[in-house]
């Protein structure tokens, strides 16, 4: 951890804090952090607020530089950072997306109840551990030719479904239907393709996981029903991204844009914010490669869902269809998108226009009726999937009008880390944590005790408070809460 942040933070209301645009030279707009007073004490313990101010310095920023309640120190943008840029005058920045492009969440629902699951939980977790490729160097059974990989980059989840790794109706419940338009495989390097060629359908390591959960609280029965969720129902949450392919795309284009910064005369407070005008050759090349990596991630989570369905079918002796294991939803939380929003004009009136919205550790939270919300959920709004951490709750929220007005339709993405990996390991032994979780009725399958300790619940902020702050601020609304029953750690 670094030294605490000493800059000005003005409280606007219970959950809104402002960094004035006058705080530092180069800021083009103010910064806004969504958090309670209690959370702010943690937030200013490191330099994350400085990163909010740094993002405010980027050319063409539209509206405020924002951070969601799970803000913590990242690279370039803070984690939890949201910023939008004018596509004609503004920039695109890999630092606003992150290394794990389209890291995100998928939630599978089921018709199973807690009573159905409990007697079979241990066997199910063994089946998941045997079926889902997970861990530091995980490679999967899918070996892609270059031609196939290029198709994955362009078609995303649709490629996986066509190759038998998903159901056609899955696509109706994925953000962007699991495939963003505009990918160009020629903009993805051979190195990135090589890193990705053996990793489709793999979970990865670190904070990636598969978690079997039970819905233990329903806040909005009507919306929960639309999402296919019910009290005591069993769901499965998947957290993974674009694996080595996405990491390499970010690495490649940080180097390209680091040079472009001088070419386009952009002055940066932090080199990790390397960027280029969105319409420039370099900016477009990054965006087209990033879209390809995002599509890879949607295909990846589709394949992971396929392995999970297989494990459930094996454990229950019934097909995944018979178990009702459809997709509830799938969201990206590290991505840049060209979206239409109502933007404040110079005269204060709002007019609709396009912006490049960067969400880094933030989730899209579009409200009811928005044309980009998938048709099945358009009457109620977009589901927002918020993971907890092993021993803690997870949530499904729904997007709101307030988020559309203030945050380009964005909200939080999870708990947010508060301890380093080493600090977590100093505070809890993996074997002890495994025992504690088992006592709490949570079955854990993890490659190593050390890896388990690094991701201990105490290493993260309190997700209940993060979600509460997002709801108090009006950025999203709770629909259901889940508690974990079984965790497969990457």
């Amino acid at each position: 951890m670094g030294d605490g942040w000493k800059g000005p933070l003005r409280q606007v209301d219970e959950c809104r804090w402002e960094i004035p645009a006058t705080y530092k030279t180069g800021m083009r707009t103010a910064g806004r952090i969504y958090a309670t007073a209690e959370m702010v004490k943690d937030i200013v313990a490191d330099q994350a607020p400085e990163q909010v101010a740094n993002v405010a310095c980027l050319p063409g920023i539209a509206g405020l530089s924002m951070a969601m309640p799970d803000i913590h120190w990242g690279y370039g943008f803070p984690i939890g950072g949201v910023a939008a840029f004018d596509p004609e005058e503004g920039v695109v920045s890999p630092g606003g997306v992150g290394y794990d492009i389209n890291c995100g969440m998928r939630l599978l629902r089921s018709d199973l109840t807690l009573e159905d699951l409990e007697p079979r939980l241990s066997g199910l977790m063994d089946a998941l551990a045997a079926t889902v490729p997970a861990g530091v160097g995980s490679e999967g059974p899918i070996k892609l030719s270059r031609a196939d990989l290029d198709q994955v980059l362009v078609r995303g989840a649709a490629w996986a479904v066509e190759h038998g790794y998903g159901w056609p109706e899955d696509l109706d419940r994925l953000e962007e239907r699991g495939s963003m338009a505009g990918a160009d495989p020629s903009k993805v390097s051979g190195e990135a393709k090589k890193r990705g060629s053996e990793q489709l359908g793999t979970l990865g390591s670190g904070n990636h996981f598969v978690e079997v959960q039970v819905v233990d609280e329903v806040y909005d029965e009507q919306v929960a029903r639309v999402f296919g969720l019910f009290r005591n129902g069993i769901v499965v949450m998947i957290h993974s991204g674009s694996r080595g392919l996405g990491h390499q795309v970010c690495t490649d284009y940080l180097a390209v844009l680091d040079k472009a910064v001088a070419k386009y005369g952009v002055s940066l407070p932090d080199r990790q914010l390397a960027c280029a005008p969105f319409r420039s050759e370099e900016g477009q090349a990054y965006f087209k490669a990033m879209v390809g990596a995002a599509n890879f991630a949607w295909a990846n989570r589709t394949c992971l869902a396929h392995w999970i369905r297989e494990a459930f079918a094996k454990s229950f002796g019934r097909s995944a269809r018979e178990l009702g294991m459809g997709v509830a939803y799938d969201v990206a939380h590290n991505i840049a998108k060209l979206e239409r929003h109502r933007l404040p004009g110079r005269d204060g009136a709002r007019a609709e226009g396009q912006v490049v919205v960067h969400r880094k550790g933030a989730t899209r939270a579009f409200s009811a009726g928005h044309p980009e919300v998938v048709e099945v959920y358009r009457p109620v709004g977009q589901p927002v999937l918020i993971p907890g951490n092993m021993g803690t709750h997870s949530f499904v929220l729904v997007g709101t009008d307030r988020a559309m007005q203030e945050t380009f339709g964005s909200t939080c993405h999870g708990a947010g880390r508060r301890l380093s990996r080493s600090a977590a390991k100093r505070q809890v032994r993996g074997s002890e944590l495994r025992r504690q979780l088992r006592q709490a009725g949570i079955e854990v399958r993890a490659e190593s005790d050390a890896g388990l300790a690094e991701e201990a619940p105490l290493a993260y902020k309190d997700v209940d408070k993060v979600v509460e702050a997002a709801e108090k601020a009006g950025l999203s609304r709770r629909v259901v809460r889940m508690r974990p029953l079984g965790v497969l750690k990457g």
């Binding site: 690495t251 180097a255 380093s420």
Partner: protein, 155 residues
């Protein structure tokens, strides 16, 4: 090719979810070689890294490094580490020794040399390094002529 550079050192430190390297060396070649050694320690753990470095010639490969070019030493250090990250993840080989030359070239810097790498399957890695970052990155030459650097790895 030495498994430890003649001068300098590497120290690992915590950075929230990630790991940083503090590096030193009397020459840029040594500084960059320590960066490679630090990356291997992160990927394998110190004990396994030492065991691997002491291993005989079985399976050892020599890989040409570079030429890598960058506009300054900071960007070159990131490019160097990311080249090694790629070797570990895509080629499944972990560097155990390196001998590199870092020289000015035009308006920037160039690195070239060789890396000795040992095959390690993905399951043999302790930590998966995503990339070397520009975050908090610095390379400086002290008054005494020693090079010092700091780089953070996203893991």
């Amino acid at each position: 090719m030495r498994t430890s550079p003649a001068t300098g050192a590497v120290r690992l430190f915590d950075h929230t979810a990630d790991i940083g390297l503090d590096l030193s060396g009397a020459t840029l070649g040594d500084l960059f070689a320590w960066a490679a050694a630090g990356l291997t320690r992160v990927a394998l753990g110190l004990r396994a890294a030492r065991l691997l470095a002491g291993r005989g010639a079985g399976g050892v490969q020599e890989v040409a490094a570079g030429p890598l070019e960058a506009r300054d030493l900071e960007a070159l250090l990131v490019a160097w580490l990311n080249f090694l990250v790629y070797l570990i993840e895509a080629e499944h080989t972990v560097p155990v020794a390196s001998d590199v030359e870092v020289v000015p070239a035009g308006e920037g810097w160039t690195l070239r040399g060789r890396v000795r790498a040992v095959p390690v399957p993905p399951a043999g890695l302790r930590v998966r390094v995503k990339a070397a970052t520009f975050h908090g990155l610095k390379v400086v030459k002290t008054r005494s002529g020693l090079y010092r650097a700091r780089v953070i790895l996203d893991v």
